[in-house]
C-alpha cells in the first residue's frame, strides 16, 4: 500500500521534498517560493527540450515506416543517437546574419518563439496537485501565449531583410490568426460544462472527484474536439498545413535566413508547440491525468503520446494542402460550423442539465449523449453539403479542362492535316 501510494504521488513527493530542502537552506518564505518556482520552471523546460529530442527521432522513424522505408538507422543502434547528431549539427553550423538585417529584431525572434512555446507548459496539470501555476484563466492563457509566437514570426520575417521571408511570414501569420478563431470557439463548450477557465478544474470535472461524472469531454463534444485538434495542427504549422515552410515551394518561408542555433530554436519551437497542443487536447478533451490503474502522470503521457501519434500519422499520410484550400476550409467551413455548434450546444446543454427537477432522468451521461448527437448532425450535414459542392466544382473544372483539351487536339490534327 505504501509503495503504491509513493508511486502514485511520486511527483508531489519529489516536489515537497525539494521545497523542504530549499526552505531548510533559506529561511525566508518569499525567497524559498521564488527559488522553487525557478527550479520548477527549469525542470519543465528541460522536460520539454528532452521530449523534443525524443519526438524528432520518433517522428522520423514513424513517418518513414508509413512511407515504407526504414528511417535513420546509422547513428547508433536503431538510429537512437540521431537527435544527438542533429544537435551537434545545429551547434556547429555557421551562425550567419544577413547584411542590412535588423540585428536586434533578427536575433530576438527565435528566443521569443521558443519562450512562447515553453510558457504554455506552465499551466498544465501533470498530476493531482502538481501544476506549474493554477491560473484561474489557464485556458485563455494558453491561447494568448500562442498569439505571442505569431508576433515573433513577423519579427523573423521582417528582420531577415528578405522579400521571400517577409511574404512567407505574412502568409504564416494569416494562417495562424485564422485558425485561432475555431480554436477559441471550440474551447467554449468545454468551459461551459466545466464551469471554470482553470485547467485544474477542467481535469477535475472529468474525473470522479466530488461526484463529478468522470466522462471525458471528447464524448460530450466530438465535433468540437475534432475541430480543436485540426486547428491546433494548423496553429503549429505542421503538415498537412506546413505549406509555408515547404522546402520545395517558398524556400522554407520565414526562417530562410536563419541557420545554426537560431534555426534549431525555431525547430524546437515547432515541436514543443505540437507537443503542447497534444497535452492541451489530452487535458481538455481526454480527461487529463485521470485513469484507473497507472499513476496519473503516466496516463497523461500516454494520452499525449497517443495524440502526437495521430499528428505524426497525419503528417505521413496526407498531402500538403494549398493556401486557398486552407483558408476556404477555415472561414467557410470551420467557423460557421463552430458557431452553429455553439448555439446548439448552449440550448441542449441547458435543456439537458443534470439536477433539473422537471426531468430527473437526466444524468451527465444523458447530457453527454444529447450534446454529442445534436452537434454531430449539423457537422455531418455540413460535411456532406461541402463535399457535394466541391465535387460539383471539381467536375465543372474538369469538364472545362476537357473541352479545352479536345479543342487543342482538334487544332493540332487540323494543322497537321493541313500540313500534309
Amino acid at each position: 500500500m505504501d509503495l503504491l501510494n509513493i508511486i502514485n504521488n511520486l511527483l508531489k513527493i519529489i516536489g515537497d521534498w525539494i521545497y523542504g530542502l530549499v526552505h531548510g537552506l533559506v529561511g525566508n518564505l518569499l525567497v524559498t517560493d521564488l527559488i522553487t518556482m525557478g527550479l520548477a520552471a527549469i525542470i519543465l523546460c528541460t522536460f520539454a527540450a528532452l521530449s523534443f529530442m525524443g519526438l524528432t527521432y520518433a517522428e522520423r522513424k514513424i513517418v518513414a515506416r508509413i512511407q515504407d522505408r526504414i528511417g535513420p538507422n546509422q547513428a547508433g543502434p536503431f538510429g537512437l543517437l540521431v537527435p544527438i547528431a542533429d544537435g551537434i549539427k545545429m551547434f556547429t553550423k555557421e551562425d550567419t546574419t544577413p547584411t542590412a538585417a535588423d540585428r536586434w529584431v533578427y536575433n530576438i525572434a527565435p528566443l521569443v518563439i521558443a519562450t512562447a512555446a515553453l510558457t504554455a507548459y506552465a499551466v498544465l496539470p501533470l498530476a493531482p496537485g502538481v501544476v506549474g501555476t493554477n491560473l484561474n484563466v489557464g485556458v485563455v492563457f494558453t491561447i494568448a501565449i500562442g498569439s505571442g509566437s505569431v508576433v515573433a514570426i513577423l519579427m523573423a520575417g521582417w528582420g531577415s531583410n528578405n522579400k521571400y521571408a517577409l511574404l512567407g511570414a505574412f502568409r504564416t501569420v494569416a494562417q495562424l490568426i485564422g485558425y485561432e478563431v475555431p480554436m477559441l470557439l471550440n474551447l467554449i463548450p468545454v468551459v461551459l460544462i466545466a464551469g471554470s477557465l482553470s485547467l485544474v478544474d477542467i481535469v477535475n470535472v472529468q474525473s470522479t472527484l466530488n461526484g463529478s461524472p468522470g466522462i471525458p469531454f471528447v464524448l460530450y463534444f466530438p465535433v468540437s474536439a475534432l475541430i480543436f485538434l485540426i486547428s491546433g495542427i494548423a496553429e503549429t504549422a505542421r503538415s498537412p498545413f506546413d505549406l509555408l515552410e515547404a522546402e520545395s515551394e517558398i524556400v522554407a518561408g520565414f526562417h530562410v535566413e536563419y541557420s545554426g542555433m537560431k534555426f534549431a530554436l525555431f525547430f524546437l519551437g515547432e515541436y514543443v508547440n505540437a507537443l503542447a497542443v497534444s497535452f492541451m487536447f489530452a487535458t481538455l478533451f481526454l480527461g487529463g491525468y485521470n485513469g484507473p490503474i497507472f499513476p496519473p502522470y503516466v496516463w497523461l503521457l500516454i494520452k499525449a503520446a497517443a495524440v502526437f501519434t495521430i499528428l505524426m500519422w497525419l503528417r505521413g499520410t496526407l498531402p500538403r494542402i494549398r493556401v486557398d484550400q486552407m483558408h476556404t476550409m477555415n472561414w467557410k467551413f470551420f467557423v460557421p460550423i463552430s458557431a452553429l455548434n455553439l448555439i446548439i450546444l448552449l440550448l441542449v446543454a441547458k435543456i439537458f442539465q443534470p439536477g433539473n427537477a422537471a426531468m430527473p432522468w437526466v444524468t451527465p451521461g444523458v447530457q453527454a449523449m444529447a450534446t454529442a448527437i445534436t452537434t454531430l448532425i449539423p457537422f455531418l450535414a455540413g460535411l456532406s453539403i461541402a463535399s457535394r459542392r466541391l465535387r460539383s466544382q471539381r467536375d465543372a473544372a474538369e469538364a472545362l479542362a476537357e473541352t479545352r483539351r479536345a479543342a487543342n487536339r482538334a487544332a493540332v490534327t487540323t494543322s497537321m492535316g493541313g500540313a500534309h
Partner: protein, 223 residues
C-alpha cells in the same frame, strides 16, 4: 510605506510601460515602434496582474498583442513610403508642452491629501489638489469576480444591451474594414478613376459657367 516584492515589480513594470511608450512616440522606424508598442502592452498586462484581475491581463494579451498589434504591423508593411518622412510635425513642441502640463496637473490632483501642495504656505492652509483616499479600505477579493462580471453581461438590468451593441459594433467594424481595405480588381480601379474624372470634369464646367454667367447657374441650382 513598506517596500514589498509587489512594489519592486510595479516599479519595473512602470519603467517598461512608460519607456517603451516613449520609444513608440519618438522613433522614426515604424516597425520598431510597433514592436515597442507590443512591449508596452505586455507591461500593461503585468500591471493588470498586479491589480489582481488576471482575466483582463490575458484578455489584453489576446486582444491587443494577438490582434491589434498584428494589424499595426501589417499596416506598417503595406504603407511603406518611398521617401523618408520627417518624424514630427510643426506643432510637436507645443504638443510636448501640453502633454507635460497635463501630466503635472493630473499628478497634482491625484495625490492623496497627505501629499497635496499647500498653495500659500504658512498663513492659510489652502491645499492644491489632494483627494481623500481614506475611504479606500482595500478588501480582499476572490476569483468570483469573473463569474459576477459574466453574469452582469447577460443580465437584462445590467449590461446586456451594451454587450449586444458591442457585438454589433464589432460586426460592422469587421465588414467595414474588409470593404474599405479590399484590393480592387483592375476593372474596378478603372471604373473608379473614370467616375472621379467625370466628376472633376463636371466640377470644372461648373466653375467656368459660374465665371461667365453666374445667374443662370444659381437659378438652375434652385430647382
Amino acid at each position: 510605506m513598506t517596500i514589498t516584492l509587489q512594489t519592486i515589480i510595479f516599479a519595473l513594470l512602470s519603467v517598461v510601460v512608460l519607456g517603451s511608450a516613449l520609444f513608440v512616440v519618438t522613433t522614426r522606424n515604424l516597425f520598431h515602434a510597433a514592436l515597442m508598442l507590443i512591449l508596452s502592452f505586455f507591461g500593461v498586462a503585468g500591471l493588470y496582474v498586479l491589480l489582481e484581475s488576471g482575466f483582463f491581463a490575458v484578455a489584453q494579451v489576446l486582444v491587443y498583442i494577438g490582434a491589434i498589434s498584428i494589424l499595426f504591423i501589417f499596416a506598417v508593411m503595406l504603407t511603406r513610403g518611398m521617401v523618408a518622412m520627417p518624424r514630427v510635425n510643426a506643432q510637436a513642441q507645443l504638443a510636448a508642452l501640453v502633454s507635460v502640463l497635463l501630466f503635472v496637473v493630473i499628478v497634482v490632483i491625484v495625490n492623496p491629501t497627505a501629499l497635496s501642495i499647500k498653495v500659500l504656505p504658512g498663513a492659510s492652509e489652502r491645499v492644491l489638489g489632494g483627494i481623500p483616499w481614506q475611504f479606500t479600505t482595500v478588501t480582499t477579493i476572490t476569483d468570483s469576480y469573473i463569474k459576477q462580471f459574466g453574469a452582469s453581461l447577460v443580465d437584462g438590468s445590467a449590461y446586456l444591451l451594451p454587450f449586444l451593441l458591442a457585438a454589433v459594433l464589432l460586426d460592422i467594424a469587421l465588414a467595414g474594414a474588409v470593404q474599405v481595405a479590399r484590393e480592387r480588381r483592375p476593372a474596378e480601379v478603372l471604373a473608379e478613376r473614370e467616375l472621379m474624372a467625370a466628376e472633376a470634369a463636371e466640377e470644372q464646367q461648373r466653375e467656368q459657367a459660374l465665371d461667365t454667367a453666374p445667374e443662370t447657374v444659381l437659378a438652375a441650382d434652385h430647382h
